[in-house]
Symmetry: C2
């Protein structure tokens, strides 16, 4: 028997997706070590450590191989010092799996990094589809003053790897407030990957 079709309404104001198979949220206290300014993070933690930074609604199919996972990401606006709220970020565990992100509400960025350490930054706006190709690390950034809501779609066998970013001391680029806009600055804690690690990622097959 084939799995039955389903439909899901997306609320662009809240990111709520009807009939999800799962939902999770990340609170500020769970994002220790992500931001540059340790003092500002400690202060924010004391003030609003249990506040939500982002929440995900998703629909995961029963079977993995060849299927799709889709859902929404809702990100609160906010900063740690000058640094905008970001998601933890990941590369797919099967590194050659891509992802699409589609702007539903708000203003933000998709911050992406190739295995070699090249940064790519694309603006997310309503009705803008961002394609994160295979092999790119990616993280969302809310650069606006309102929630950033996106819908996403990726192969069901992709998985998430958070270790690659952690081993490099974060992503090569940070996004800071700059007047009413944003600017990209180098991450002082960043340690480029070794040639062997880069080659291993680029060699991902199947």
């Amino acid at each position: 028997m084939a799995v039955p079709p389903t439909s899901h309404r997306i609320d662009p104001a809240t990111g709520v997706l009807s009939s999800p198979t799962g939902r999770y949220e990340k609170r500020l206290a769970e994002l220790a070590g992500i931001y540059a300014d340790a003092d500002a993070f400690a202060a924010a933690l004391a003030e609003r450590g249990d506040s939500i930074v982002y929440a995900v609604h998703e629909v995961r199919p029963a079977a993995a191989r060849g299927d799709l996972i889709f859902g929404t990401t809702f990100m609160e606006p906010g900063r740690i010092g000058d640094e905008f709220y970001v998601t933890r970020g990941h590369i797919h565990a099967r590194a050659n799996r891509p992802e699409t992100y589609y702007g539903e509400a708000g203003e933000g960025l998709m911050l992406m990094e190739s295995p070699e350490g090249e940064t790519s930054i694309l603006e997310v706006r309503p009705r803008v589809m961002v394609y994160v190709p295979p092999l790119w690390i990616h993280r969302s950034v809310n650069t606006g003053s309102a929630p950033l809501v996106m819908s996403f779609c990726y192969p069901a066998d992709a998985g998430q790897d958070y270790g690659l970013i952690a081993r490099s001391g974060g992503m090569a680029t940070r996004i800071l407030a700059d007047g009413t806009g944003w600017k990209a600055v180098p991450n002082a804690d960043y340690r480029p990957r070794s040639a062997a690690e880069i080659d291993a990622i680029l060699a991902t097959q199947d």
Copy 2:
């Protein structure tokens, strides 16, 4: 080297997707044999045979396996007799590949059929995500009086098979105008698939 990220703006009024890698359109004259009312089709053909029924913008990546194809479908409103305009419809050539369709503008239906011949009909509206699971034949129907625009996403190795529908004399269900709404009626030309053909589709692996 990793393929660079890209972003694409969707115009919900026209279905135009910026920076597509491909675009195609289907004109009425290319859809012979799809509709029930042969006389009405002949009359429509004489009157507007070269008019567009639907147009697709798409982004196809270089590599297939594990990647995604995404884009938009724009459908004109219209009818052949009482039958609403539909897309040709397909099952994926790798039949166990799914697809998501997301309403951007207009009102329509996703008309779906399992290998066994079960019909599923889900309404497409702005902000509604329809999940077409693996193994389901699917066709879009514009039941409104304005263009129906959707964005879609599916695995890059899915492919399209149009023969399965043709061999069955179409899909089991047709969508007709009913006052200001729609109704589903049996397709008199439909020939159910054999048990062997059903089994072969359900056995799709990898």
